[in-house]
C-alpha cells in the first residue's frame, strides 16, 4: 500500500424537502422575478424545515456516508464540520453529530468557519490527517442553513443542505491526487457577532473575490498536477448563483458539459459551505472508474480550496447504497409561500 494514499471512502448529501420559488420572494418585494431568474440563473432554493439545522442535516448526510463506507464508526478519529450557521455560538456542532453516529468518545473534533469555504476546509484537514497516518478514518462535513436579509439580493439564493465525506486509506471510492489552497484578505462578505444577517460588498464580490481566488486556485492546482482541463470528466465550483461557476469554468478552460452534473444551484440555491461539496456528491453518484474530478471551492474573506480526485473501481458498488443527491433535489419537493418561509426561517416570531 502506498503510504501517502488517501481519499474518500464514503460520501452522502442531505437536502431538505422544502423549496421556495424566486417568484414567491420577488412578489413580496415588488421585484421582477424574471430578471432575478435570468441574472442569477436560479429558479428556486431549498429551505430547512423548522426542526432542521446544520447539525441535523449533517447527521443525515453522515448516515448516508456511513451506508456507503460500511465502516465501524468507532474507528473514526476526527470529525470536522464547516458552516457559517453552526446552531450554537459556543458549543461544537461536531460533538452532536459524532454522538448521533456513535463515534464518541475517542475522536478529535472542531468546527470550522470560513464563509462558504468552511466545508472544503473540513475536507482538506480530514484528508491531511489520513495522509499523515494519524488515524484510520476522518470525517469532513460542509453544511449550512444560510440566511439573507429580507429583500436583499441574497434572499433569492440562500439555501440549506449538507454533504459529508469519510476519508481513509483503504477501499477508496476516489483517491485524492492533489490539493491546493489559495487565499488573501479580501472583505467581500462578512457578518459581525450578534448580527443575524451578513453584509456584502455588492459588485465587489465578483472580480476581486470569487473569480480571483477560484481562478487562482484552479490554475495553481492544474500546474501542480501537470493536467489539462480536457483530462477531466467532471468539474465542480462554488456556486453562489448559476452564472459564477459557469464563467469560472469557461475562464479555466472547462466546458459546461463537465460542470453540468455538479451544477445544482438553479434548483438548490447557494448552500454556502455545502455548495461545492454537495455538487461533488452529485458527481460521485454517477462517475465511473478512472474518471478525474476537479473541484474548487470559494469562501468570502477570501479563499479557495482545490482538489483533484480519481475515481476507483469500487465507486459503482456503493453509489446506490444511499439516496442520490439529484434525486433528493428533484423529488418530493414541498413548496412554501413567503409567509410560511419567513416563519420557518425565524424571520418572524410569534408573540410570547
Amino acid at each position: 500500500m502506498d503510504n501517502n494514499k488517501a481519499g474518500i471512502v464514503g460520501y452522502g448529501a442531505y437536502i431538505p424537502r422544502y423549496r421556495i420559488r424566486v417568484e414567491e420572494i420577488a412578489k413580496v418585494w415588488g421585484a421582477d422575478a424574471n430578471s432575478y431568474k435570468k441574472g442569477l440563473d436560479v429558479l428556486e432554493k431549498s429551505v430547512p424545515g423548522p426542526d432542521q439545522d446544520t447539525i441535523s442535516m449533517s447527521v443525515e448526510a453522515t448516515k448516508y456516508a456511513l451506508k456507503r463506507a460500511k465502516i465501524d464508526p468507532q474507528e473514526i478519529g476526527a470529525i470536522y464540520i464547516g458552516s457559517e450557521s453552526h446552531p450554537y455560538a459556543v458549543k461544537p456542532s461536531g460533538t452532536i453529530v459524532a454522538e448521533a453516529i456513535m463515534a464518541t468518545p475517542d475522536i478529535h473534533c472542531a468546527d470550522y468557519e470560513f464563509a462558504c469555504k468552511a466545508g472544503s476546509e473540513a475536507m482538506f484537514v480530514s484528508m491531511s490527517l489520513i495522509k499523515a497516518g494519524e488515524m484510520k478514518y476522518a470525517i469532513g462535513i460542509g453544511g449550512d442553513t444560510s440566511q439573507g436579509a429580507p429583500g436583499d439580493a441574497l434572499e433569492y439564493t440562500t439555501a440549506a443542505g449538507s454533504a459529508s465525506f469519510i476519508f481513509g486509506k483503504d477501499n477508496l471510492l476516489a483517491e485524492c491526487l492533489y490539493t491546493h489552497s489559495y487565499m488573501t484578505d479580501t472583505p467581500d462578505f462578512w457578518r459581525r457577532e450578534y448580527m443575524h444577517y451578513p453584509r456584502h460588498g455588492g459588485r465587489f464580490t465578483g472580480e476581486p473575490a470569487y473569480f480571483k481566488h477560484t481562478i487562482g486556485c484552479g490554475k495553481k492546482i492544474l500546474e501542480k498536477s501537470g493536467m489539462n482541463p480536457s483530462d477531466f470528466q467532471w468539474a465542480v465550483f462554488h456556486q453562489p448563483n448559476g452564472k459564477f461557476p459557469k464563467r469560472a469554468a469557461k475562464m479555466l478552460g472547462f466546458s459546461f458539459e463537465q460542470i453540468k452534473q455538479g451544477w445544482l444551484v438553479p434548483l438548490l440555491g447557494n448552500t454556502y459551505s455545502g455548495a461545492s461539496p454537495i455538487g461533488l456528491t452529485a458527481i460521485l453518484d454517477v462517475a465511473k472508474p478512472g474518471d478525474l474530478i476537479f473541484m474548487v471551492s470559494y469562501g468570502s474573506g477570501s479563499g479557495s480550496d482545490g482538489f483533484i480526485f480519481k475515481v476507483t473501481d469500487k465507486l459503482p458498488e456503493v453509489q446506490n447504497l444511499a439516496p442520490h443527491t439529484r434525486y433528493q433535489l428533484e423529488n418530493n419537493r414541498i413548496y412554501l409561500d413567503y409567509g410560511t418561509y419567513t416563519k420557518y426561517r425565524g424571520k418572524i416570531l410569534k408573540a410570547e
Partner: protein, 129 residues
C-alpha cells in the same frame, strides 16, 4: 425537560439505544431494569431499526406551550422493523398524505429549544418514504 435529563437520554434520543432481554428477547425502549415479560434483569445493548410503518396518528391543532409555534403537527405511533412501537412526530407531512400502514423512516431533527438562549434538544422524528 431539564438539561440533565436531556443529556441522560441522549443514547436513546440520538441512537435509538434499547435493551434486549437476554432471557426472552423482549426489547425495552427505553431501557428497563427488569424484563416485564420474564422478570430477568439481564439485558444486552440493542439499537432499534430506523424504519417502520404508521400504526396510528393524530394531528395536534392546539399543542402544549413549548410546541405551540409548531401547530399543526402530526404525532404517530410507529411500529419499527423490530416490532417495537414508539411515539414520534411525523415531520414534513401534510395530514392528508399520512396513511395507516404507510412506510416511514426516522430522521435526526431538532425536537425543542429552550427559547433563544437555552439548549437545543435533538432527537428522532418520522418522515414518510
Amino acid at each position: 425537560m431539564s438539561v440533565a435529563r436531556y443529556w441522560r437520554e441522549i443514547p436513546r434520543r440520538y441512537r435509538l439505544e434499547a435493551g434486549k432481554c437476554s432471557n426472552c428477547g423482549y426489547i425495552a425502549f427505553p431501557h428497563r431494569l427488569v424484563c416485564p415479560e420474564c422478570g430477568s434483569r439481564k439485558f444486552e445493548d440493542y439499537r432499534l431499526k430506523d424504519t417502520g410503518k404508521i400504526v396510528s396518528f393524530t394531528t395536534i391543532e392546539v399543542g402544549p406551550t413549548e410546541f405551540s409555534d409548531q401547530v399543526p403537527y402530526n404525532v404517530g405511533i410507529i411500529e419499527l422493523g423490530d416490532e417495537v412501537r414508539i411515539t414520534a412526530q411525523i415531520a414534513d407531512a401534510d395530514p392528508k398524505d399520512i396513511k395507516i400502514g404507510g412506510k416511514v423512516k426516522l430522521e435526526f431533527r431538532k425536537i425543542q429549544q429552550d427559547g433563544h438562549a437555552g439548549v437545543i434538544k435533538y432527537g428522532y422524528k418520522a418522515v414518510l418514504v
